[in-house]
Symmetry: C2
Subunit: 782 residues, 2 copies
């Protein structure tokens, strides 16, 4: 059964704060499981049913994930070559802790037996709770109401909980509840689509031991190759009298079974507390006791306590992060859902990052890409800067591995970050659209630079940032060269830019511009350190053996960077040879041949002028002050007709540039392709997991696009307009010590300083200075 084309109509009713499912539908179940995923940046649980799923094959993926917890296998190549990524890293589907089975007089409850008299599932984004309410009737017409609340604690990364309530509606009788953990878990097997699943095809987590005593149960498992140990444990708290039975469980499960004399109208409540600990965070011998401690504490505090902490956490989150739109409920819901999922997906411990599909599915193997720095980090930077710092800490954490990778790639100095990874090693098995994307180094530095500019966190720069910055800058110096045939300009050969429909080219426009920015920033920061933090500089220079000539060479390379420009077309060519290829025959490409990568050999695609995603336009956005508005317009006009947006990372960038150059209708249409990407399953693959980068792109479309926010040379700028269909929109931005609220409606733009003493910024070309609590209303300039 193919689920790829099933979702045509709007699936979830419009509601500003909630995602609601009013009817169980086997055809959308796979997608629903993604949509109703819960997570806290560490634990991720797909929206699977506690009682299990008995629908047809291919309509469900039972999934629980821990950010950064993976198995590794040697990568198989048809033909080996030196320096290829050696081992995979695949985020594992871990011990299933969601299981609560229910029996009414021996009849097992599930969605495929008896009668579902009513059904409702709601993800509440203010409460941080997933609630399912069902009235179910057995074949013997015994009716129960079931109410299940599930939370994954945003406060405590090791904690999740389920509040399970059953009320007999028309009978007295025996009710049995079994709460379990299941260690028999496997990852999904890829079907050849590189965007889905992995090559793991057997159970990787082997049981080391099981613990079962009354309401407590734990399974200790170990990965086969990475040898990580994982403890998953539960504590069950049944708030009704019962016959507890410790029963033999299937070999890979632990179970607590409760048999209850149920009375009509009397609610039975089981509170199940769940925890995960792994040897990636703590010594193996501590895992079980830590798990016990966490559960003990949780049980003592009770389920309500978790609900309260969720609410508080989210209250603050929405205060900082919320975008309010008046005039379009669907969008409001979409944007909010995207923000919510970003929060659920992002690793906040400095050891983990944010996977392409968050913690909601197995696509792209749970890897971290440039998506983090270029798409997702900005959202957190301007709303929850402490999270963006954690994301950068992760990069510092893997710096040594990036150094090692640089050596493998024949660079004697410096660091080269992996294109895709979990723990720092390059995991891309296709280097033309992997390792060749050297721009990852500059992407990380771009994010670092913005982080420092926006937060003023010089301490981070001194302690971690500068080291990353200098080591990665070295790579460009070694990679590029002064080419006589190019007027001795500094050229960068054989790299791949963001657009993966063109590979291994010389002087990719995006890469060269970003490398220039990178080298300049490295030079500037070296200068700053020498002048202001001399000791720090000497210490760091000694640590990484940095020579003065190197620093000067960065400046020289930046000054002489070859920046592609076509005098004839007056556009920026994507690379040296891009304009010398034929344009893809779009007219004769039927819609079912998209995405092209699934229907054409890479050589066929590479041979043509056709883009998967924004490439030159990405530079126009990120380094917007380096280009004139006219250039942006011409580039947009050139690249738009040849871009397929086969990558979900594309539309938001097109929307932002369209906003900037006054193509408002296009801006809105591209924005619409991001705002409900998963809720409306726009790419027909959300069943495999959410699209985190695109979700963050929605935020960028509004803030950078409609509101025209930029930070150039450390200056905050806005240039807002109001999309035709909206009444108003509103959001908050943190900048240095301040927080500013921007509200745009037909009357104009209202700026209000929420936090901080004083903030200077630009409204269009007009300089504005706001004092604490002050508010100002200005005309829309566009």
């Amino acid at each position: 059964m193919t689920t790829d084309k099933l979702y045509k109509q709007r699936l979830y009713p419009l509601d500003e704060w909630r995602i609601i499912e009013e009817k169980f539908d086997v055809e959308s179940n796979y997608l629903d499981e993604t949509i109703f995923s819960l997570g806290n940046g560490y634990i991720g649980m797909r929206g699977n049913f506690e009682e299990g799923y008995y629908g047809p094959e291919g309509t469900s993926l039972e999934g629980t994930y821990l950010n950064g917890f993976y198995e590794s296998h040697p990568i198989k190549y048809g033909e080996e070559a030196y320096g290829y990524a050696k081992k995979s890293q695949t985020m594992l589907n871990v011990t299933n802790s969601k299981i609560i089975k229910l029996y009414i007089d021996g009849e097992e409850f599930n969605m495929f037996t008896g009668n579902i008299l009513s059904y409702n599932r709601t993800l509440d984004m203010k409460e941080g709770v997933l609630t399912r309410k069902i009235v179910w009737e057995t074949s013997a017409r015994k009716r129960v109401q079931i109410v299940i609340k599930r939370v994954v604690s945003l406060e405590n990364k090791h904690l999740a909980a389920i509040n399970y309530e059953v009320t007999p509606l028309n009978f007295n009788g025996e009710i049995t509840i079994i709460s379990a953990l299941d260690g028999e878990v496997k990852n999904q097997v890829s079907n050849g689509d590189p965007r889905v699943g992995s090559a793991l095809n057997e159970q990787v987590l082997k049981i080391l031991s099981k613990h079962q005593e009354k309401s407590f149960g734990a399974i200790t498992q170990k990965t086969t190759n990475t040898e990580f140990v994982l403890v998953c444990a539960m504590e069950n708290d049944l708030q009704t009298e019962s016959n507890y039975r410790l029963e033999d469980s299937p070999s890979q499960m632990v179970r607590a079974k409760y048999i209850i004399d149920a009375k009509e109208g009397e609610r039975i409540v089981l509170k199940k507390y769940i925890t995960y600990y792994t040897s990636k965070d703590y010594p193996t011998y501590e895992l079980l006791s830590r798990a016990k401690e966490t559960l003990l504490q949780a049980k003592k505090n009770g389920f309500e306590k978790i609900l309260i902490s969720q609410r508080e956490f989210l209250e603050d989150f929405w205060k900082q992060a919320c975008i309010e739109i008046k005039g379009d409920k669907a969008l409001q819901q979409g944007i909010r859902y995207n923000q919510y999922q970003l929060l659920q997906s992002v690793g906040r411990d400095g050891k983990t990052n944010i996977a392409a599909k968050g913690l909601t599915g197995e696509g792209y193997e749970g890897h971290y890409f440039w998506d983090t720095e270029i798409y997702i980090l900005p959202f957190f930077l301007y709303t929850y800067p402490e999270i963006s710092r954690k994301l950068l800490e992760y990069r510092y954490r893997i710096l040594d591995k990036a150094r090692q990778r640089a050596r493998e790639m024949a660079h004697e100095k410096g660091a080269l970050y992996p294109w895709r990874t979990i723990d720092g090693e390059e995991c891309s098995a296709y280097y033309p659209a992997g390792t060749a994307q050297y721009h990852i180094n500059a992407d990380i530095i771009y994010a670092l630079k913005k982080y420092v500019e926006v937060t003023g966190d010089v301490e981070f720069l001194l302690d971690f940032g500068a080291e990353i910055l200098f080591e990665t800058a070295r790579l460009w110096a070694d990679l590029g060269s002064y080419i006589p045939k190019k007027n001795n300009k500094f050229c960068i050969d054989c790299v791949t830019g963001p657009d993966e429909y063109t590979a291994i080219v010389n002087n990719n426009c995006y890469t060269n511009y970003m490398a220039k920015m990178h080298l300049e920033y490295a030079y500037d920061i070296a200068k700053l350190l020498k002048e202001k933090y001399k000791e720090k500089y000497i210490e760091l220079a000694k640590k990484i053996c940095l020579q003065e000539e190197e620093v000067n060479e960065w400046k020289r390379a930046a000054n002489n960077m070859y920046l592609p420009y076509d005098e004839e077309l007056k556009i920026h060519p994507q690379d040296d040879s891009f304009l010398e290829k034929p344009i893809w025959d779009f007219e004769n490409t039927p819609s079912e041949k998209y995405p092209l990568l699934l229907h054409y050999h890479p050589l066929v695609i590479y041979r043509h002028q056709v883009c998967k995603q924004a490439d030159v336009l990405m530079a126009l956005f990120l380094l917007g002050d380096k280009f004139t508005l006219e250039e942006k317009k011409r580039d947009f006009d050139y690249y738009e007709p040849i871009t397929t947006h086969d990558s979900s990372l594309s539309s938001c960038i097109f929307s932002i540039i369209a906003s900037e150059i006054g193509y408002y209708e296009k801006a809105y249409n591209y924005f619409m392709q991001t705002a409900r990407i998963d809720l409306d399953n726009y790419h027909n693959n959300s069943q495999h997991g959410i699209h985190t980068a695109c979700m963050a792109g929605t935020w960028m479309c509004v803030v950078n696009g409609f509101a025209g926010m930029r930070v150039y040379d450390g200056n905050l700028r806005f240039n807002p307009y109001l999309p035709e269909k909206w009444d108003s929109y509103k959001f908050r931005i943190r900048f240095k010590e301040c927080q500013i609220e921007v509200k745009v409606d037909s009357a104009g733009v209202n700026y209000k300083l929420i936090d901080g003493n004083s903030l200077e910024f630009y409204h269009g070309n007009q300089k504005v200075n706001l004092k604490k609590g002050q508010e100002i209303c200005l005309d829309i300039q566009k």
Copy 2:
């Protein structure tokens, strides 16, 4: 134990017609096994010992191969993409039929026990026989003389034989001889070096049945995935009285055991006849009876008969093919060995071709490459043209698969030959240096064109050649396009040329020149057919739906072909971007870092001006009349310092061009790197098999290089000179109905028409016409 650096000194004494080993050396055993390989274009047997080998691991490869007999597995990719080669094809190591074990009073003979009192192994290239003579002494001082002759019949592709003689020198006693077939065979497992072995790591040939009756034994086996059936059978003819014992054999063997009362001085002779038949040639149910019939006939005729037929076959071969050099024994031996191995390796049945390592090892999985058409076929074309026809017939045989491959690569019409294959399917698991080498199509057509010009075999052109020609020409028409940025010239983007140290480039010089030749030839032949063979043309055009406009478009594309030239350097750039890359830092690359492909990631190599092999120079040679001598000189001067010759296909081309432009010392030195490539283990990897293309390159160095032979516009040309170190050299060339002998010595060049009524050719710029039997001596012009 690494065998890679073992062979420093000359291993085999100089002898014009023989390769001799005077002493068994475990350290060179692995190489010796390659050097003493026997073959007949179908069966290939490495020079393994009949009694088995008991030396240290890594010093031997027991190998028997059948040309074109392979197993197939799904190719595993770390990351899948559309259109990748799906299945491997690996030439199999088949049933070992060489086994003859010898026991003297129960003590087993092998090279590692007892005492070897004398040892000599000789490959006689006039006789086509491998002979090993040993005097061996048991631990009890019993001495035997052992003389073993092995032949693989050049006349009958299904036949091999061993003549095994033992003579007790100082005792009477019991001698046991076991002759066996062993079905327990596996291919070598690759160590990650793409040039060695395959991914097969288990026994692929499963036993279907065994037959054993007296002197006859047979094993029927089947491949797992390709489901090919193979029968290997033996007939043993012991010419002494003995106790024959039919014994239980190990499960995968059949054995005939003879116990003999041996007398001092009385020779015991066992004649073992061996045959192989597979379901690739005959229906499965016929295989066993055909095997029996072949053995019966062989036994009836006797071993001597095979020796006679070998001698006769080779007498003719050397008459046609021999290059005689006076003044350098080592070279004479090397050249002769190379020619001999080419004959042993080449498939002559129209269904098989010639593998990169012949039938002597498992490197490159027994695949056929462009090596055939560009390197090897010319040798046969001018000496044994019927073999070159068979090689072209093979290409016709796989034309349908090439059509299918073209569709996979999004070409609606035409055919794209696989870069590497056995049975026609693309097997390259690394497309940048595989499928991207579209020039394979033109290489085949180049060989076809020469074949027709040199043999005048228009019938082949009409029946097979034209169809190949037109279908492949279509590919260029579809692949290339008229590019505005290139003055609307016809450009070919995203291909890889012969040089595998540069990949996926636009307008590879070699490719564009060859495509132009291809398209012109297709147009010309279409014209010829329309004018002279109208019916044939109509029939063919109908069969392949060929439109008149297509043919005209070929001409238009050829006329407008973009031919790269750099006005500043006045050289032919290898491709559009080649000259815009930095030159490889040869100065700081230590010798142990070669070949570069084993020490640098492809991206590092691709990023630089560095060539693995001749690329532009290949065009200068093949299409020599399109370039001036000055251009050739400038190109040579430019590319020579940046070429590593990490491919064994490189040196001969450099030698030929060096000869042409008067760089005689260089010409000789490059030639020296080809002439004894395997005998001197020049690339340190001959243990894995011979280098067939390079071996043919030796012939080209002499004929095309020193003697300056070319065929331009159907005209035969020579322009010989005499390498300083030689007294003279001599060879014969077939051209149309004629055969001419060319002898060059210090007195001049002697041309003699051996065969045919009249031949016109050029000596330098001088037109010469020879009549039958006529001889002429002309001055060397260079």
